[in-house]
């Protein structure tokens, strides 16, 4: 399958230089840090770095680089850095501390993460992630993050899907919030000390590339509409994921792809865009006007039992369905992991039950997550203590009491493993453009285990990027004399102005949201949990038609020179259209089932997902070649020296 497929894409050269330091895997990170050139502490204040996004990755990176003495210009679209969507992460953060003496180690966290990612991530990156994981907990505790404690005063842990040790640290069901507040407070401390210039309500709309290097951004002041150009020695994107391409997702409403997509159009390869994680424990859709889906932490699966009525079409009250007429399908099919199978397995199993007519609730798109046994065993008080806020949230949204009747859950789009391609230094294919956290593609492979996104965001921000970007800054400073009059700057500014004017000029008859909803339903239908060639080909056609209709008929109200939320949304949806097509092309090329993705053409005789390692053990990194032109596929081969690649089985 080396070449193009029906003209959807062209084959390109393989990506070979990942800057992997090589040598024993246990020593690679030390080796890389030792070989990196350093910037003298006195010179650091002369180096400026732009960071887009203030979530766990961006906030922690800015705080750390500011503390180290660099000058930072930080931008976020929210009104405060504390509101980045990392704040919504609930369940926990993994770390190889082995506080439980249950056999955990760096090696085991490394193994679980590579296996959980279905052997589609890089060994070197994942090993490093496991190595620094323990230091993240130390850092957070030092900042005052109130992790759960045992009565002896030591840290408590719990287990998460896909693993058999208890390595997840948590702060009730609000771990992301507490970790983010730690990073945000450290960031504000740097604001006060003058190393960080924080610009809230600013959105990046273009990357400035000068002589092949990322040197700045064009942003829009979302209050005044003013376009501003900021130049720097290097640019870091920490702008999160693109799950909102599906319209309905667990992401915050403002989460978008624009920063990474604009960079992609300027030369940064986009890797594995079709890798989107579908989370099994979300509150099901209730109506047409729903604007988002709410996640219920996966930690609930520690104590909740998942079941459906054994017979299709059984609409009785769950309390009236006796044990014998219930199917605890995860426990039955996957006895070793039971309700704690990885997210992709749990999601697909739920969909299969619902497709077979055994779903519960409105429209039959739901399965039960039942705490009756746990409450009987542990008492209501214990359950309340562990999951109280989640139960309250569920009750608020559904108007049902989960203590007395089982929760209803259904899979939803949650996290995107794809993102801009980066090397071992977290640098993209555009020199000087670094990408961290969910915005890059690395570490999680084709699937993300629970409690690992917070780990990656903070690993990148606190430890990895600060360990690699110095090497770039030491050797590639912004040349003297480059300012806002440089042709590349003028070109980037003109592009932003032109695009904004174009959006405002259409004055059509359909709202931005109506286009977004339609795009989302196409993606969910054809590029969601299950994909196949026929559906994906159809989706590409539909997306192209819809994109044309968008540019001909969208209604964007108001003007640029004001706080204009309609314009903000229109720009983001325009980018989602372009990304959506690439997601489908990427899904089309990957004719295997892996991670969260089930290609119906690729299954085992038992109907389980079938990976095809000989053909697809690679990262698919896409090069932009122009509007309407087929993208070029560059493959980065994934070799596994330290972990034996095997069929994933959770039975």
């Amino acid at each position: 399958m080396g070449g193009a497929m029906n003209g959807y894409y062209a084959g390109g050269d393989p990506l070979v230089d990942t800057k992997d330091p090589g040598g024993p895997i246990t020593e690679r990170w030390d080796k890389r840090r030792f070989e990196a050139k350093l910037v003298n502490p006195a010179n650091r204040r002369k180096r400026t770095v732009i960071i887009i996004g203030t979530g766990l990755a961006g906030g922690s990176a800015a705080a750390t680089l500011g503390e180290a003495g660099y000058q930072l210009k930080v931008f976020c679209y929210q009104d405060s850095a504390r509101r980045a969507h990392s704040i919504a992460a609930q369940g926990g953060i993994n770390a190889a501390k082995d506080y439980r003496n249950d056999g955990d180690s760096v090696q085991r966290l490394f193994y679980d993460t590579v296996k959980g990612g279905d052997y589609r991530s890089r060994e070197s990156n994942v090993y490093r992630l496991a190595q620094v994981s323990a230091a993240i907990i130390d850092q957070a505790v030092a900042q005052g993050v109130p992790f759960a404690r045992e009565y002896g005063g030591l840290l408590d842990t719990r287990s998460f899907g896909g693993v058999q040790v208890s390595r997840t640290f948590y702060a009730r069901g609000q771990t992301g919030q507490q970790l983010l507040l730690g990073a945000y407070q450290a960031l504000e401390r740097q604001v006060a000390s003058g190393t960080v210039e924080l610009n809230t309500r600013h959105e990046m709309l273009e990357l400035v590339v000068i002589d092949g290097r990322a040197r700045g951004v064009v942003v829009r002041d979302m209050v005044t509409g003013a376009f501003e150009t900021h130049l720097a020695d290097a640019v870091v994107l920490a702008s999160g994921g693109y799950g909102n391409a599906y319209y309905l997702s667990t992401n915050a409403m403002g989460c978008n792809v624009s920063a990474t997509w604009r960079a992609h159009r300027k030369g940064a390869y986009f890797a594995n865009p079709c890798y989107t994680q579908i989370h099994p424990t979300c509150i099901p859709v209730s109506g047409e006007h729903q604007s988002k889906l709410t996640l219920m932490s996966e930690s609930l699966r520690n104590d909740g039992r998942i079941w459906v009525p054994a017979v299709a079409g059984d609409t009785r009250d769950p309390a009236l369905i006796p044990e014998a007429e219930r199917d605890y399908y995860l426990e039955r099919t996957y006895p070793a992991f039971g309700n704690l199978v990885p997210r992709d397995v749990a999601s697909r199993a739920a969909k299969q039950q619902c497709d077979a007519g055994r779903g519960v609730g409105p429209g039959g798109l739901g399965v039960y997550l039942d705490f009756a046994d746990a409450i009987k065993r542990l008492g209501r008080e214990t359950i309340e203590e562990k999951y109280g806020n989640l139960f309250d949230m569920y009750a608020k949204i559904t108007d049902e009491d989960p203590y007395s009747t089982p929760m209803r859950i259904y899979p939803a789009i949650h996290y995107t493993m794809g993102g801009l391609w980066v090397d071992y230094d977290l640098e993209s294919t555009v020199p000087g453009l670094f990408v961290i956290g969910e915005a890059n593609f690395s570490d999680h492979g084709a699937n993300r285990l629970g409690a690992s996104a917070l780990m990656q965001g903070l690993a990148d921000g606190y430890f990895v990027l600060p360990g690699t970007i110095g090497d770039y800054l030491a050797t590639n400073p912004l040349p003297a004399g480059i300012d806002a009059t440089h042709p590349a700057v003028l070109e980037a500014e003109a592009a932003v102005r032109e695009r904004t004017a174009r959006l405002l000029a259409v004055n059509g008859s359909r709202t931005v949201d109506s286009f977004h909803r339609e795009l989302g339903s196409i993606l969910w239908e054809y590029c969601g949990m299950e994909r196949n060639e026929e559906g994906l080909t159809k989706a590409i056609g539909l997306i192209r038609e819809l994109r044309e209709a968008f540019w001909a008929d969208v209604k964007v109200t108001g003007v640029n020179e004001e706080l204009n939320q309609s314009l903000e949304r229109a720009g983001r949806v325009a980018d989602f259209f372009e990304l959506a097509e690439l997601m489908c092309i990427d899904a089309l090329h990957r004719r295997e089932s892996c991670g969260a993705h089930f290609r119906t053409e690729s299954r085992t005789p038992e109907g389980e997902a079938l990976r095809i390692d000989e053909e697809y053990s690679h990262v698919a990194a896409w090069e932009f070649t122009g509007d309407g032109a087929p993208p070029i596929l560059h493959r980065e081969h994934l070799g596994f020296e330290h972990i034996k690649v095997q069929a994933r089985s959770y039975k």
Binding site: D138, A142, A171, L181, Q185, H289, S291, S509, Q565
Partner: protein
């Protein structure tokens, strides 16, 4: 359901604002309050009008971005609930609902229902942190934290920084916000070295931003979506009084 909305419209920071009336019909009790505004905004856009600007993001009650005063109550009539988690089932068919922005001098209106809450960030920047440079952290288990203290810290750390406490306070005080951060960091052993300096610096910034003083009215805790209790203001006062004679010179 059909709802009549009277909404504060204000084109920008410097313009005069006024209430405008809109009717939204054909909505369901299972929709959230913000989803009703989405519907209104789509209708306004199609009719060539200017949609209502309002802040919102996660719609899960955790990011703290939504900020509506609904029928005179910050975040509306339900206890422990942000505006984004408020559902129309809590209203009645045909009801008239007033929707206004947070009102406080340090929170200027930027447009319609959107206000600038940057003052809260500046209070945090003044001292709402524990100085812990990356890489300098001791092993996490080297400092045991009694569970009771960790729980107390968490209860306080649950503040989402939305500013409802300010909007509800007749004095325009941010004392509950302050008290939550002071209590969070002060309850932990890690927070002790800077405890005095933190309290004094944060209060000083609070006052400089133009927030009012606390007179223990309690409106703040009544509307707080995160359930931050009033005694955290007592903790704040205690910490400030203890710190005053010692001064803030222990933080260079």
């Amino acid at each position: 359901m059909k709802i009549t909305l009277r909404i504060w419209r204000q084109p920008d920071r410097d313009a005069a604002g006024s209430m405008a009336t809109y009717e939204v019909a054909g909505i369901s009790p299972d929709m959230s309050f913000l989803e009703m505004l989405d519907v209104l905004n789509e209708e306004l856009a199609l009719a060539g009008g200017d949609p209502v600007a309002f802040d919102h993001d996660c719609r899960e009650g955790i990011c703290g971005m939504c900020s509506l005063v609904i029928n005179g109550l910050a975040h509306g009539p339900e206890a422990l609930t942000t505006a984004c988690q408020l559902y129309l089932r809590h209203f009645t068919d045909g009801q008239v609902i007033d929707v206004e922005p947070w009102r406080a001098t340090p929170f200027p209106v930027l447009k319609d229902l959107v206000v600038d809450r940057g003052a809260l960030d500046r209070i945090v920047a003044a001292g709402g942190y524990i100085s812990a440079p990356t890489g300098a952290a001791p092993e996490a288990h080297s400092v045991p934290v009694p569970r009771k203290d960790a729980e107390r810290a968490f209860d306080a750390a649950a503040c989402i920084g939305c500013g409802a406490c300010v909007a509800a306070c007749p004095n325009g005080s941010a004392s509950l916000f302050l008290g939550a951060k002071i209590t969070h960091l002060g309850a932990l052993p890690q927070g002790q070295p800077e405890r005095d300096a933190r309290a004094l610096a944060m209060v000083e910034q609070h006052d400089a931003e133009g927030f009012g003083g606390c007179s223990q009215i309690g409106e703040c805790t009544a509307v707080c979506p995160a359930g931050i209790p009033l005694d955290m203001i007592s903790q704040l006062n205690h910490d400030v009084l203890t710190a005053l004679p010692r001064g803030k010179d222990q933080r260079g």
